[in-house]
């Protein structure tokens, strides 16, 4: 291969590098108690990263027909602070009823696309799975527009390839579009990035998953 062709870094990730990046990611998660774990598939060397979050949301996001169960939940969540970001509706916000949702995130490797993929599922505390519409309405307004325009094509319900259960998935088709600039920049600065940290920092927040800044500074690329 000519030297000139080495200008751009591959946006693709082989499985071994995926696992190494995850290992380093998990080490940092352990350090800052960020809640990620590795789930191994019995009898194989395959696995995925997993994290569960409890997220408070405005109950208006959930379908009207489930209002009753929300009322019950709120009896247990009285101590959750109202969202006071919106100052003009400050008084309303304090009185607003909140619910708590359980989000479970899985980071898997896709052999077909040779990139990581984010799967997640969401449910109420009493175990009712959220519909696609409800999950959509829980995506922050700022991201909703971006989500519809790409570079990740769409949010759909999919069968989890290792567990066989319904999950939501951010479609991986255009990961290259946003990874490429990040990887090129890193190469230009002679830095090597941890693919998983970079990738998850971009896709995670869209679906309410935050990746603390310390990951970017503390987690190294695999050798």
């Amino acid at each position: 291969m000519m030297a000139a062709e080495r200008n751009t870094v591959s946006c693709y990730l082989d499985e071994k590098t995926f696992r190494l990046c995850c290992q380093l990611f998990l080490q940092h998660s352990e350090t800052i108690q960020d809640g990620w774990s590795w789930e191994q598939i019995k009898g194989t060397d395959e696995g995925f990263m997993k994290k569960t979050l409890l997220i408070p949301v405005k109950s208006s996001i959930l379908n009207k027909q489930h209002e009753c169960s929300i009322q019950d939940e709120n009896m247990e969540t009285d101590d959750i602070q109202a969202n006071v970001e919106d100052e003009t509706a400050g008084v309303q916000a304090v009185c607003e009823i909140h619910a708590v949702l359980r989000y479970e995130y899985h980071v898997l490797y896709s052999f077909s696309y040779q990139i990581p993929v984010l799967y997640f599922r969401a449910s109420t505390l009493d175990g009712r799975p959220l519909s696609l519409e409800e999950v959509w309405s829980n995506v922050h307004l700022n991201y909703r527009q971006r989500l519809q325009q790409g570079p990740w094509d769409t949010l759909t319900q999919q069968e989890h390839p290792l567990l066989g259960q319904p999950f939501f998935m951010l479609h991986p088709c255009r990961t290259e579009e946003f990874m490429k600039p990040a990887l090129d920049l890193a190469q230009a600065e002679n830095k090597r990035v941890n693919y998983i940290v970079t990738w998850l920092s971009v896709v995670g927040p869209v679906v309410r998953l935050d990746v603390p800044l310390s990951y970017s500074t503390e987690v190294s690329a695999p050798d």
Binding site: S112, Q157, P161, P166, C173
Partner: protein
């Protein structure tokens, strides 16, 4: 290659006679008669059962009609798998017609994907085609097609139009003349035991030494139990001459002979059937040929591994 084109037609027009019965759990105003239908193997349950829905909704109250779902002997049927795969996996060794139970309540949220409209099926179908092309051609062929070409693939499936579909699909079946086949073969192997829904791995149709790899080679690597009961006996194959290179085995085309060529012991009973579109292809069949001719319209080779009947 006239014979090969016939195979494409036979695959496309494969049908399964089914009998749909309403679950006794459903509340009806009158008794519900079963509904009989010939199901296309290559299509999807929710795409071809509008008539089934209408038939049963006639005897039910409007407010009871939420999303329809299907079940066979207690197992919810995944609409996003091709019909033929579901049948081969769950009911191939039982008497026809395939008796499927219809439900409208208690949607099994933890087992089935929702299917609220045909556009969900279309999105799923196109996503499979894209993934298959990512494996075969790094996505280059599908990405070079226009939106209307993608639409033609879907409409061909939806309206059961073989020629319309294949006019476009043939492009997805091409490969560079200097290569022996696709980059990787898009396939999924299903079995009913275990938590894992399917096995899908990277597999090249040609070995590094340039040998054409076969169905038997695929199984040996990913599901050796389909060939031999004892895993170690499969490893011995490394020292045996490759199939088709002069090895003399009596009754060469018999099941036993095939499996022996891939490492089974001579008198080992067959534990599994390896089924594609309701047939058991010879293990010596090149995997590239299977991918080009026995794939589903979604461009995946769906392989069902089921327990061999003990008759």
């Amino acid at each position: 290659m006239a014979d090969d084109k016939d195979v494409l037609r036979d695959v496309w027009f494969g049908r399964i006679p089914a009998c749909f019965t309403l679950s006794p759990e459903e509340t009806t105003e009158r008794e519900a008669e079963p509904y009989y239908l010939l199901l296309p193997r290559v299509s999807y349950l929710t795409l071809v059962t509008d008539k089934v829905k209408k038939h049963f909704l006639r005897v039910m109250k409007a407010e009871d009609s939420t999303e329809m779902w299907f079940e066979y002997e207690g197992t919810p049927l995944k609409w996003h798998y091709p019909i033929g795969v579901l049948f081969d996996l769950h009911a191939s060794n039982t008497a026809l017609p395939w008796n499927v139970t219809v439900h409208f309540k208690n949607f099994p949220e933890h087992d089935l994907l929702h299917c609220t409209s045909n556009s969900v099926i279309e999105a799923h179908f196109m996503s499979c085609i894209k993934e298959a092309d990512a494996l075969k051609h790094k996505g280059q062929v599908i990405n070079d097609m226009q939106k209307k070409d993608h639409k033609q693939l879907w409409m061909g499936l939806q309206n059961d139009k073989f020629d319309q579909f294949w006019a476009m699909n043939r492009k997805l079946m091409e490969y560079p003349t200097d290569e022996g086949g696709f980059r990787y073969i898009p396939f999924r192997m299903y079995q009913t035991m275990g938590e894992r829904p399917f096995i899908q791995k990277l597999f090249r149709p040609v070995s590094p030494e340039g040998h054409t790899l076969t169905l038997g080679d695929l199984l040996k690597e990913l599901f050796p139990a389909a060939i031999c009961a004892e895993e170690h006996s499969c490893d011995l194959v490394a020292t045996l001459p490759r199939p088709g290179t002069g090895s003399q085995t009596a009754g060469r085309n018999s099941d036993q002979a095939q499996r022996v060529e891939y490492g089974a012991s001579i008198d080992e009973p067959k534990r599994f059937q390896v089924m594609i579109h309701g047939i058991e292809p010879l293990l010596e069949t090149p995997i590239q040929w299977l991918s080009e001719h026995l794939s589903h319209p979604d461009n995946f080779l769906h392989i069902s591994i089921i327990p061999a009947p003990s008759d």
